[in-house]
């Protein structure tokens, strides 16, 4: 199995009330690709990762991590 990069795209998207399709259009990817990225099946290219961070207005390390993100409230 490949090394896992953990991400919080789905969480950020839900929190901001942004649909998969809206995010896909903003980034220029297919909406199914958002699902692939959220599930970690695909990793974004560095450029795409930076675009994502830019879109949400946060640092890349807020979205991506080599270690699992701590559960909220724990």
């Amino acid at each position: 199995m490949t090394e896992n990069v953990h991400n919080r795209i789905a969480m950020l998207r839900a929190e901001r009330g942004i649909s998969r399709r809206q995010l896909a259009e903003a980034l220029g990817v297919h909406y199914q690709t958002i699902g692939y990225l959220e599930r970690g099946e695909y990793s974004p290219s560095l450029q795409l990762a930076l675009q994502l961070a830019d879109y949400f207005g946060v640092g890349v390390e807020v979205i991506f991590s080599l270690r699992p993100f701590p559960r909220l409230g724990s």
């Binding site: 090394e3 980034l27 990817v29 990793s43 974004p44 290219s45």
Partner: protein, 294 residues
């Protein structure tokens, strides 16, 4: 689309000029000019309420346009006779009659109407050949009420084909088909097209349209907003490309306006592992949804 070198001097199967239709003050068709050559497989796409059914019903002779002219197989469908009707096949969305009849009985009954119109084209289509062509060979003696949804639909298609039509209208013919039945049906359409049968089909399945159509008409708000082969329509709006690959550790995705330049960079690194390389473009569905949203 229509090229005189491919159509020769044969008159088109369908020709309309300025076709308009209003129901009361509601304008459903806003002047449709259309020419469909013999042997074309044309898929009519459009959202619900765009005017697809109205267009098809005018071409079939079931409705009179408010304005404009229509010619189908050289005649005005509104006042064409039985001999004309024998050359046209129609598969409606669904009909649920004759539950107790057996498949062969219904087709023999329907086929009987075509006997007087047999000539250069032998009519009707011999039942066993037809059953084999639509994949119902094992159901010849099955009561119609006992057929599964997909098999019932195949019988609808067989009913439309029994008279060996020169022009076939299909309204969502593969609704309820499983993928294998759908593929078989696409093969059937291809073989009908080889026999120079002109086919006009409506569907909501864009993947299907992309596979079977030689030409796609996109009808929105009573007008044709796009007309071309599936590939032509896709190329009109390729959108951003998505490059996907596996670098030996992870699957990566990168969106780009210029996939060629990106790939040049990616592939020149002799050390890089690049497997499962894929470039993804807009599908017909993406193009359709954008066009309909406008």
């Amino acid at each position: 689309m229509i090229d005189s070198t491919t159509t020769g001097n044969a008159p088109p199967a369908i020709r309309t000029r300025g076709l308009q239709m209003s129901y009361g003050t509601n304008r459903v068709l806003r002047g449709i000019d259309l020419e469909i050559a013999r042997g074309e497989v044309v898929v009519l796409l459009g959202p619900n309420g765009a005017g697809k059914t109205t267009t098809v019903e005018i071409l079939e002779g079931f409705r009179h346009p408010s304005a404009g002219s229509v010619e189908v197989l050289g005649a005005d469908p509104a006042d064409a006779g039985h001999a004309w009707r024998a050359r046209v096949g129609i598969v409606l969305q669904s009909w649920r009659d004759h539950a107790k009849w057996r498949v062969r009985e219904l087709l023999e009954y329907l086929g009987g109407f075509y006997v007087p119109y047999s000539g250069a084209v032998a009519r009707p289509w011999p039942i066993d050949e037809l059953l084999a062509a639509v994949g119902l060979a094992d159901d010849a003696d099955t009561p119609i009420g006992k057929l599964s949804g997909g098999r019932r639909r195949r019988l609808d298609v067989a009913s439309g084909l029994i008279g060996r039509p020169e022009l076939l209208f299909l309204d969502e013919p593969t609704a309820g088909f499983d993928p294998q039945a759908r593929r078989d049906f696409h093969d059937l359409l291809a073989s009908l097209s080889d026999l120079e049968t002109t086919i006009l089909m409506t569907t909501h399945d864009l993947d299907e349209a992309e596979k079977v159509a030689s030409r796609i008409l996109l009808l929105v708000d009573g007008g044709i907003i796009a007309d071309g082969s599936p590939d032509t329509l896709r190329r009109q709006d390729f959108g951003k490309a998505e490059v996907r690959w596996f670098d030996g550790e992870q699957h990566l995705v990168h969106p780009t306006d210029d996939p060629v330049a990106f790939l040049r960079g990616l592939l020149t690194d002799p050390e890089a592992t690049i497997e499962e390389l894929e470039v993804r473009r807009n599908s017909l569905e993406d193009v359709y949804l954008k066009a309909v949203e406008r």
